[in-house]
Amino acid sequence: MNVVVIGHGMVGSRFVEDLVARMPDARVTILGKEPEGPYNRVLLSAVVAGKTDASMLAMSAVDPARASVLDGVHAVHVNRAARTVTDSRGDVHEYDRLVIATGSAARIPDIQGIATDRGLVPGVSVLKDLADAQGVLARLPKARRAVVLGAGVLGIEVATGLAARGVAVTLVHHAGRVMERQLGDAAAGIATGALHQLGVKVVTGASVAGALERRGTLTGVRLTDGGEALTDMLVMCAGTIPETALARRAGLPCERGIVVDAQLASPADPRVFAIGDCAQPPEGGTGLVAQGWDQARRLVDAWCDGETAAIDQAKAGLTDVVRVKASGLDVVTMGLSGKFDHGDRELRAVRLADPSVGRFVEVVVSNGLLVGATVVGDKQCASELAAMYTRAIPVPADPAHLIVRPLAGASPAAAAKNVEDLDDDATVCQCNTVSKGRIVAAIGDGCANVADVAQATRASTGCGDCRTNVQRLIEAHAAPAATTTDSGAAAPRIPALAG
């Protein structure tokens, strides 16, 4: 079987690796527009923030011996009747199955003066590929101010990353609150407060209307609210647009993305599939790599096992967990979050808002399962909720327990009591199950030091961690005169290393 994959990004490469592993006799060709081979686009903001070395981005790719890998070569034409793909070098590739994994492009808003015929004005950029990240890094040494447009996940990551590098950042967002798709008012307010603390100035309800430049270089921006801001950089994080041009030209139905059915196939052509950001599956695209990787896995499974590629709700991990990667700002959302529509479901939403310490948690529960959550400023809670959400693990009877955890040590069992305050039946030496009562009795019988107690009760002869406690009990219970004498009754010693 001839398989052609268009797009050698995070999803296309994962698909091909899995496919050749499972279907060794498939003849696979993968075309990648960028010369570098697959790399981790999710971490571009971490590179800009200086948290990740750019050398860390390269990802594993299919063994070139197992597939024809054409990096730096893009597809220019798909002929569905002839089942061929023509590439930018003019070579023609035949396919039995075609997988489109072209990803998405950065949306470039209509802003006056950001571009000339030569492209974006120096200082203006998006952050979609490695070249963009390198462009931003190259300007950093001379940049004192930056404007980031768009307070979605990427915009917030870029803004906090630049701020952490000492750049004065203004984050401009068209909606009335940051991350308006994921956060409601209260959560967004707390996140905004955290952004301010990290040195990011947040302007909401406005956009960038025009770029100000001098001698061909950006010097500032004019905002739609009439304000102006001096800046050395404008990084536009205004969303993405699925790359559908090739599919549209091939006559495949496209809306926002390339329309595919539950089997990830085009309704117009059962030989053509789309996965990753370019695809528009029935449940909608999330723009998250987890969804694309899940699609890649399902498609390979379907081809190899002859099963359906549709999401098996009983088995599927939920992939719409959104995490902002920003030091000092913890925002995680999943499922129903922000201002969601209850529909006709029976939902229980429980929330905790604690703005003065920057904490907000909301959990949404339906039929005993967590169906959504919004967490700002509580790392531990966020990671626990995500683990529970993605695995559909039943929630406690009272969802409030998902939010408020008992204080460590608040329960009687966990309380770190002083050994003197323990009951007599409490175990002091775990290794030998020796109770406090037995130790106290041994002290009463004349044991005057830890070695004596060990001899009499075996307490402290395992890991030795309770020696301090045994000593305290001796001090508390022994007759004053006896505490310093050594009994000399220790077990006879055998040469240390006799085998």
């Binding site: 790399y39 981790n40 999710v42 971490l43 971490a46 948290k51 990740t52 070395d53 050398s55 860390m56 390269a58 990802m59 594993s60 790719a61 987890a290 009983a314 088995k315 991990g317 995490r323 990667k325 913890d330 790392k379 966020a382 990671s383 626990e384 995500a386 683990a387 529970m388 993605t390 695995r391 559909a392 693990i393 039943p394 929630v395 406690p396 009877a397 327990h401 008992p406 329960s411 069992a413 966990a414 775990q430 290794c431 030998n432 199950t433 075996r458 002869t461 395992g462 890991c463 030795g464 961690d465 077990a491 006879p492 010693r493 055998i494 040469p495 240390a496 290393l497 006799a498 085998g499």
Partner: protein
């Protein structure tokens, strides 16, 4: 006259002094003895170990199954004649592989060696494997392919004391081998103990109060934690570049593989906050030599290894250690913490399906020639590789499978995964022979039970978790007719037509073992009882009489073809039996302090049984609340394999999505009725440590009656 020996239980092999006490209820009195590993300490199991010598139902005569399904006592000749004639008949009728052997990681080196030789020379069956497959196989497979050798810790335990950080993944040694904890005092003082365990075990509690960090991942995701730590080490430029260039290969592949495991993604799978993962990676890096630290160690346990991705898990741990430049350096290192008493030696001398003495591969023509030479047989007469434990147990009594099984030092009915299936398999056999000291659950299914000596009744050597060879010394005679396996194998071999080559004196067997191991990876050729008895500290390899032993391995390079360690890319997959709507809770299994493995020994010690009387399932109060059960309630646990019952023990130490059940009991409270027998594709290790379970209140008697 006192006798210096070592504890009968775990791989720490605490040194003991036995004082014979003629005329007393127990034949010896036990005390701890100063030794580099236990420093005089013993846990409750060790202190009470003499009780097992006089277990009330100790086997003291061979037992033969009777027509009415009971047992009758027999003398040795009758029992051995019967076994040998049945084995011969079955092999004549169905071929050599009609007989299989199942060994144990508690057997002395001498017994393990003799058992492997007996299989290959007397029975000439390829079907031998052992319960170490359930214990160390993933660690062994990963160490061998990455480092070229598997010597457990690779360094003396006492070295841990000097480190700035020790990362321990999936081991609860404070409960399973308590005296080990003494070696962690230094690193705890410096705040560098890092424990990865879904439970806040007593070991994890050692990190409290600033003594370190505890990461509690979702069960089955420890590998993700390791991948994320490797990611951070590389992303933040914390790796030891010089070491990687000089001593390893494969960096590029591993770098690309862990590129997919950035901390925020890992957090979504393992449930540990991304910042916590970063913090942990930085603690380890700061402790490592390339950053001027005093050193760091990475240790793995069964929690990581007993997975269908166990080999990948240990590989990820090795990768992390290599990235930090820890392996083959004084003061730093990597190692799996071996579990069974002779789990290390037991995997070196030929009771593994693909192995010959000296940690040689049975498929290697040179190894076959060398060992056959020592054994005085034609190399071509040696059988080829057999099959690993789970597969072997599955094959019993099936068409074309083995018809007879000899079990030595193992209680598979309680300790193997999917235990009910194992019972069915044993019942399909024409002949089951079990050699044991007590009537274990497995022995009770046997056609012939052979009473054997134990611990204080025999001489031999064990190889502890450090790769240190130690002496087991006889202090008392065994009761009744109990005999050493060395004698039994010699008797059987003679009856099978091989009258020579099976000496019964342990020292003689050891000398032959040492010769057979010469030139192998686990080279014991320079070790003698005399050297050990003179107090020499010998950690293998000891290639030759004048060799001082090898306390720390890999200092001068790795025993791989190019002398370099291999970084090998690995990836995570979900458990074979993951949580789902009708089994929404994770079940993990493990041990408690007072019991050892299947409990065949410790359940017979009154003091231990009193402290931990029966099966229980530990769960978080929140989970108990949602299941509407309370402390002490009986619950029924159901997995895709079967059901078990246990009483509820509430604890905030366990994640609310997870329950913990110890596996020491038989019958309806047996945890291994529930565990998954899916295995690791490389090591054959079963996935004991994670499965999906449904829990409900146990049906009451009245409900059952209705």
């Amino acid at each position: 006259m006192t006798v210096a020996t070592h504890c009968p239980y775990c791989a720490l092999q605490c040194a003991q002094t036995l004082h014979p006490t003629p005329g007393e209820r127990l034949p010896v009195e036990v005390a701890g003895r100063e030794f580099p590993t236990n420093r005089g300490g013993l846990c409750q199991k060790g202190w009470t170990s003499a009780e097992v010598l006089r277990a009330s139902d100790r086997l003291t005569a061979p037992l033969l199954r009777t027509a009415d399904d009971g047992f009758r006592e027999a003398d040795w000749d009758e029992a051995l004649d019967l076994v040998a004639s049945r084995l011969s008949a079955l092999q004549e009728q169905h071929g050599r592989d009609a007989v299989a052997i199942f060994g144990g990681g508690g057997l002395t080196n001498e017994k393990a060696y003799a058992l492997g030789k007996f299989a290959r020379v007397a029975l000439r069956t390829r079907l031998i494997d052992y319960n170490g497959r359930f214990c160390m196989s993933s660690a062994a497979a990963a160490s061998n392919r990455a480092l070229g050798m598997d010597r457990g810790l690779g360094f003396p335990l006492a070295d841990l004391a000097g480190a700035d950080a020790v990362l321990i993944v999936g081991s609860n040694m404070a409960a399973t081998m308590p005296p080990f904890v003494q070696h962690l005092a230094g690193v705890r003082e410096r705040g560098g103990l890092v424990i990865v365990d879904p439970r806040e075990t007593v070991t994890a509690k050692l990190t409290r109060d600033g003594q370190g960090l505890h990461l509690a991942p979702v069960p089955g995701t420890d590998l993700v934690v390791l991948l994320a730590l490797a990611h951070v080490v590389l992303a933040e430029g914390l790796a030891d570049q010089e070491y990687l260039e000089e001593r390893t290969t494969g960096l590029n592949e591993v770098r690309r593989a862990v590129a997919a495991w950035w901390p925020e993604r890992a957090e979504g799978i393992c449930g540990i906050p991304a910042e916590r993962l970063r913090e942990t990676a930085r603690v380890l890096a700061a402790a490592s030599p390339s950053h001027g630290g005093r050193g760091a160690y990475i240790l793995t346990g069964r929690g990581l290894e007993q997975m269908s991705q166990g080999t990948a898990g240990v590989t990820a741990a090795i990768n992390l250690a290599l990235l930090l430049g820890l392996i083959g350096r004084v003061g730093s290192g990597f190692g799996p913490v071996t579990g069974q008493g002779n789990g290390q030696g037991g995997r070196e001398h030929g009771q593994k399906s693909d192995q010959l003495p000296g940690y040689r591969m049975i498929t290697d023509p040179l190894a076959r020639e060398r060992v056959a030479g020592v054994w005085g047989v034609d190399p071509d007469s040696l059988p080829g590789p057999g099959i690993p434990a789970v597969q072997l147990l599955d094959a019993l009594g099936t068409p074309g499978g083995p018809r007879a099984l000899l079990v030595h030092g193992s209680n598979v009915v309680v300790s193997a995964p999917h235990a009910t299936k194992v019972v069915d398999a044993l019942r399909r056999l024409d002949l089951l022979v079990v050699a044991d000291t007590v009537p274990s659950e497995t022995a009770m299914l046997a056609d012939v039970i052979l009473p054997v000596t134990q611990w204080a009744e025999e001489d031999g050597t064990m190889t502890n978790l450090e790769g240190r060879i130690i002496r087991r010394r006889k202090a008392v005679d065994a009761p009744g007719e109990a005999r050493s396996e060395l004698w039994i194998l010699q008797q059987l071999a003679t009856r099978l037509g091989v009258p020579t080559g099976f000496p019964t004196a342990a020292g003689e067997v050891f000398d032959e073992l040492a010769r057979a191991s010469a030139g192998g990876k686990a080279d014991y050729s320079g070790i003698t009882y005399d050297r050990l008895d003179a107090g020499e500290e010998l950690l293998w390899p000891v290639p030759g009489a004048g060799h001082p032993g090898t306390p720390r391995v890999f200092l001068d390079g790795f025993p791989t073809p190019d002398g370099r360690a291999r970084l090998i890319p690995v990836d995570h997959h979900a458990p074979a039996d993951d949580v789902r709507a009708d089994a929404p809770i994770y079940l993990i299994t493990g041990r408690v302090l007072q019991h050892y493995q299947s409990g065949a020994q410790t359940r017979r010690v009154a003091e231990l049984a009193a402290a931990q009387p029966g099966p229980f399932v530990e769960m978080h109060p929140l989970l108990a609340d949602s299941l509407a059960v309370a402390e002490g309630d009986a619950v029924r646990l159901t997995t895709a394999r079967g059901t078990a019952e246990a009483s509820v023990r509430l604890s905030e130490d366990t994640r609310p999505d997870t329950v913990f059940m110890p596996f020491h009991w038989a019958g309806k409270g047996s945890a291994n009725r529930l565990t998954n027998d899916a295995t690791d594709p490389i090591s054959g290790m079963p996935e004991f440590k994670v499965t999906a379970v449904a829990i409900a209140p146990a049906p009451t008697r009245e409900a059952v009656a209705r």
